[in-house]
Each structure stands twice: as C-alpha cells, then as structure tokens.
C-alpha cells in the first residue's frame, strides 16, 4: 500500500491495484424508501461527500457501483432484490468496496448476517449527522487498516515462498556439488552478481535444470 500526492490530494494505492483517496469521497447510497434516501443523501451532501445514487434496490446498487466504483457504500438491509447484506458482500468481493449498513433493524440475526458479510460499520435509523460521520470515518479507517494488514500478510507470504525457493536451490548444490551450506549460498549470490540477474532467477534455473 502506497500513499501518493496527486496534485495536493493524498491518494492511496492498495496492493490490489485499486487507488483510493485518503478519505472517502464518492459514497453509494442504496435505500428503498424515498424520504429516508433523501434524508441520507442530504446528510452526506452536507458532510461533503458525493452521493452515488440513491439506488432504489440491490440490483440498482450493484449496477451503479460497477458503472463508477464508489469509495464506500451505505446500504439499507431490507431492499427489493438482493438485500443490503448480499450487496455488501458482492461489492467487497468484486470491487473491494467497503460497506456500511444503515438499517432500522437491530436484532441479533440481522447483526450476525451483517458481521458475517464483513461490513465495516452498522448504523441504526434514524441516524444523526454525527453518527453518520463517525461511522464513515471508522469504517474507512478499518478498511485501510485491513488493506494494510492484508498487504503485509501477502508480502510476508511472498518472502516466505522466495525463501523456500532459495533454500531448495541451495540444498540442490549441497547435495550435488558437495558444497557446504554457506558456500552454496555464496555461490548462488555470486552467480547472481556475475550474471546481473536476480537471486530468485538463479535459484529457479538451478531448480529447473538441476545444473549450476
């Protein structure tokens, strides 16, 4: 995950390749009740966000998100078509868009479904301006933290795989060239330096050909 400065605006490039602002700007709203949708749209506009939608149902929400990927989504739970939980799961899986659930339901099963879907915040209707703002900020921070942790995990996984690769090549030399373990490692590094190739490529060549 990298932070870049794009003409005075901070942007974050996630390891998935997606570029997001340091704070969300475009927020998708999906709500099947006109007055509530109007209210949340007005509140978000008041907070300085650009509202995508509002979508009248789950299908419309997914369609709008794919037409122009929002930074965040605020979804009602009960909507015609796919419900808010299903839409949240879909948006995160396909576009990496985090979601906040906005619902009048606060019962256990609904909360559990939202938790399982991996939503980043849950707001109970009717929500005040402060509640909406806090939920958005916390959800966005949690999302970035998660992306950062996921990037670190992927990096560690990659390094571990490379290490296994180098170890395999080294033990081939130890076995076939009767070298000591440090000598084998030094020989691989020297070959990389001499041929101006990456150590990983040298190791791959040794593993694939069995020759050094």
């Amino acid at each position: 995950m990298k932070v870049i400065d794009d003409h005075g605006t901070k942007k974050i490039i996630l390891d998935s390749g997606r570029t997001v602002p340091d704070r969300p700007q475009r927020i998708l709203v999906a709500e099947d009740e006109h007055l509530v949708a109007a209210e949340i749209t007005a509140r978000l506009t008041e907070l300085g966000y650009v509202v995508v939608g509002p979508a009248v149902d789950g299908e419309a929400a997914i369609r709008l998100a794919h037409n122009g990927v929002p930074d965040l989504a605020i979804l009602d739970v009960r909507m015609p078509g796919p419900d808010g939980v299903a839409v949240a799961k879909d948006l995160y899986a396909t576009l990496g868009v985090p979601s906040i659930i906005l619902s009048a339901y606060s019962d256990g099963p609904t909360l559990a479904a939202a938790r399982e879907a991996g939503v980043f915040a849950y707001i109970i209707k009717p929500a005040s301006l402060d509640q909406i703002r806090a939920a958005i900020e916390i959800a966005w921070d949690r999302y970035l933290d998660l992306m950062r942790a996921r990037g670190e995990r992927d990096e560690l996984h990659r390094r571990l795989e490379e290490r296994k690769f180098v170890e395999s090549a080294k033990w081939i030399l130890v076995d076939r060239k009767k070298m000591s373990e440090p000598d084998a490692m030094r020989a691989l590094q020297k070959r990389a330096r001499d041929t101006r190739t990456k150590l990983l490529d040298v190791c791959r060549d040794v593993i694939e050909t069995g020759e050094f």
């Binding site: 709500e31 099947d32 009740e33 006109h34 007055l35 509530v36 949708a37 109007a38 209210e39 007005a42 509140r43 009248v56 009960r78 015609p80 009048a104 339901y105 606060s106 019962d107 109970i124 209707k125 009717p126 929500a127």
Partner: protein
Amino acid sequence: MDPAPQTFSSDQTRIRPSAGASFMCLYLGPGVLALATLALAADLLGVFPASNSSELPSARRTRGVVVLAVGLLLAFLWARTQRRRWDRLFDRCYQDRFTAHSDLLPAMLWTVRPDSMCDFLNRAWLEYCGRAMETQIGHGWLEVVHPDDRDPCRTTFLSAFEQRKPFHLYYRLRRADGTYRRFVASATPTHSQSGSFSGYLGVSIDVEEQASAVDRLRESEERYRGIVEDQTELICRWTPDGVISFVNDAYCRTFGRHARELIGHSFAPMIPEEDRHVMDEVAQRLGPKEPIITSEHRVIVADGSVRWHRWTDRVLLDQSGRVVEYQGVGADITESKVAELSARQANERLAALLTREAELRRELNHRVRNNLASLLGLVTLYTRSTVTVPELAEAIRGKVAALREVHELISASSGGADLASLVSRLAGTFAKFAPGAGRITVLGPTVLLPPELASAMAMIIQELLTNSVKHGALVDPEGKITLEWAVPSEGPGLSLVWRERVPPRVALADPASDFSRDGTSEFPPEHGGVGLSLVKGLASFELRGDASFSFEPAGLVCRIRIGVPLDLIQAPSKPSGQTLA
C-alpha cells in the same frame, strides 16, 4: 459223584468254573457208569469173540440188552441230578454275590418273589429305615411307606404284578429318624434261565432333593404367575412369527377376550394398521445386540376405542443365541400421552406466539425507526424549499395526518388499506377547504394496499389534494376531481389517473404552485417543486413505478403507476364509482 463244592463270597469275581472243570465235575461219574455199562453189555452180547461162556447165546444176549438199558438209564438219571445240584449251588452263589454287591449300592435294591412277597431288600433300604430284614420282607416294607401312599403303591404294585409288566412307584418312605423322604421306585419282572417268571427286581432312588427343587421351582412359578396375573400392566409373549403364546389377565381384560381366544393367534388385529410398522420395526431390531426395546403405539381395546400403550419388549434367546420368543410388558399411557400432546401443542403454540411476538417487536421497531427517518427526511425536504415556519409546519402536519389516516385504516383492517377508503379519509381532512358535494369521485376495483404502499400512496394523495386546494380544482366551488384506477393489461401493479376538472373561467396555475407549469403540457422533473419531487420519488421508490404530470384544458392530470405486484387486488367484473365529497 458230587461236584466239588465251591464257596462264593462277595469278594470273588469268578462265579462259574471253567467248561472243562464243569464237565468233569458234573459228568465224570455218570460217564464212567455209562462206559462200564457199555463194556458189560458188549461182553454179554458176545461182541468180544474171545469169550467162551457156556451160557446160551440167546440168554446172554437178553441179559446184555437189559444191562445196557439199565446202565444207561442210571447214568442219565445221575447226570441230571448232578446238573440240578449244580444249578442250585450256582444260584446260591449268585444270590450271595448279588447280596454282597447290592449292599454296596447307594440305591435301594429289592426283589419280589412270584407270589408278590418281597424276599430281599439291600442294606441301603434297611439302614434307611432302621429295620431288620425280617420285618421288611413279605409285605412288611409297606409299613415304612407313608400312610397316604400305601394304597396307591399297593394298587400299582399288584396291578403290575398281574400283568407282569414293569412299573414305577412314587412314594414317601419313613427314615429311621421318623422323617419322610420321597423316592422313585422302578421295578422290572425277572425270569429264570428257563424263562419262567421269577418275580421283580426293583430299585428305589431318593429324589427328595430333586423333588424339593421341583417344589421350590413350582412355588416360584406360582408366585411368579401370581405376580404376573395380578399386574395391572399387560404381559404377553409371542413367537417370532407373531403368534401369541401367553397373556396375563390384564391383557385379556384390556382386549376383552379370553386367553384361549388370544393364545395361538396373531395380535396384529389389535393394533391399528398405521401403527403396525412399529411392531415390525421392534421385531426386526430385537436380538442379542438389542435385547430390550421400548416403543409406543396405539391399540384397539375391548370397547373399540383407540388407546396409547407403551411396551417394553424383550427377546428371549436359547443357549445358542437363537430367538425363541419375545416378551412384552405394556402399560396404558393414553392419559399421559394426551397430556404430553397437549403440553407439546401448548409449547408449540407458545413458541409460535413468542416467535410472532419477536417478529412483531422487530417489525414495530423497524417501522417506528423508519417512520422517524421518513419524518426527518420530510423535514429536510421541506426545510430546503419552504419559506416560512408556518408553511413548514403545515406541510409536516399534513403528511403526519396522512400517515395517521393510513395507520387507522390498517389497524381496522387485516393486512392492508382499501384504496377507496384511504382516499375517502384523506378527502375528509380537506372537507373544510373544499365545501360542496360530489367534489371527489373514485372509480376502480377494490384494492387492498400493503402498509408500505398505503403510506406512500397516502402521502401522494395528500400532496395532490393540498395542491388542488391551493391551486387546482378545489379552489373553484365547481371544480371536481376524479381518481380512477385499473389493473393494467400488461405488467404488475395498478395504474391510477388523478384528473382535475375546473370551469374554464378559473385560472389554473399559480406561479407559486409546486406543480407550476412552464408552458408545456408536461413538467420536466427539474422544474417541479418539493411536491413534484415527493410524488415522483415516492412513486419511484416505494411504489416501484413512476408518476407523470400534465396540464390538460380541463385541469391537472397526474398518472401514477404502481409497479409492485398486488396480490390483494379484488377486481369486480365492472368498476364501481363512488362519490366521496
């Protein structure tokens, strides 16, 4: 010549001399006599030529024949006498040895002469009775037989004697200490070597222990039977092919049949057809691995009624593990079953009520919160466009009143709001602004709108009425409104047309109206006010349809389409009209 006397004692094993010795002992003397007779006769008959007797040949011959006959007769008689003496001696020896050996036996041995008199009882008998041989022989043995057993014994004994057949006796014998013990006697007729009946040889065996065991077993069985018969539970046994082999009284009473009517028959007819599979499953499962199974099923009892029984069935196996029989103990559990069913049904009803209550609470919370959110939305919507606080208050009051009417209507009905009634109620709230009769007419089939749709429709109609009162048909005392709806020929939902008719002299539009026109026959959305936005938004979101407005020469026309399938539409064959106000 007498045979050599031989003495046989109990410790001797040889009872008869060898064949050669026997021949010598028995027949040596008669043989010598016979030979001497033959020699003398031969001499007299002149067999030997050297004889030169002066006696006449005929006289000598006669004397020779006589000597031969007499000598051979004497030899024969002598040999027969010897044989008889030998047999008597042998019998005596055999008797001695029999006596000696029989005394060694633990069982009682006795012999009876052909005249039915006992002539021998072994030591076991005498010691048991504590009597001497002399007191027991003859018919003296009957003295130690239990008085109650004497006559049956004597009868059996004499009857068998007449027929010369083996017989068995079962009697009690008095021991030396005066106590009686039970014996079983078996006797078989004996015969001499010549085949003549020589009496009986009998043996009596003490069976007191076995008899006591049998008594105890019988008593145990009696007790067990008493317990079984006195049980209020039903007890039965049946063979693997389902045939009853035993039933107790309770079983008979329950099914109103005698045991003999049940034993040997299947009990299948006493179980309702639909429950017979229970018994089949039990029979299949019962075995060494699952020896006891409890099951519940219904039975048809004596009065024909159906009762519930709980049966604990057990498999009875033989020593090789093969199923011999099944045994079942059953109890009537109808009362408890009925109570259990009632309790279960009550629990199910309670659970359903609790679930329903939770759902209602959840829905109530949802509606209250949604209504509050909608109110906030309304406030936000109107705050952005209205100029004064009274206008804002009036707008909010109108919408809240519309929602109240919907709520009242839904509360009074079951699951929906009748569209005509809804319009009527809302029109009623505007009666003071639009006096006169026949101002508003509704035309269409009876439609029940779900609560969510009813709320949206109420706000739409309230908005249209507000506009009409302020700027439309209801401004003029002769202005009229017609709301007509119909089920569309294609697609779901409902199509509604709000049509205002005003006389030509009335100015139709007010520049301040929410629905002010821009000179065209249709209003682009961006040119509408809050009311237009609200109607279109509600039609688009809640009604899943759309709304369009147009000014026709007669007045405003609003077309609304509900896109939600309405299952509750009850369409009469011909739409009926109704004048509301």
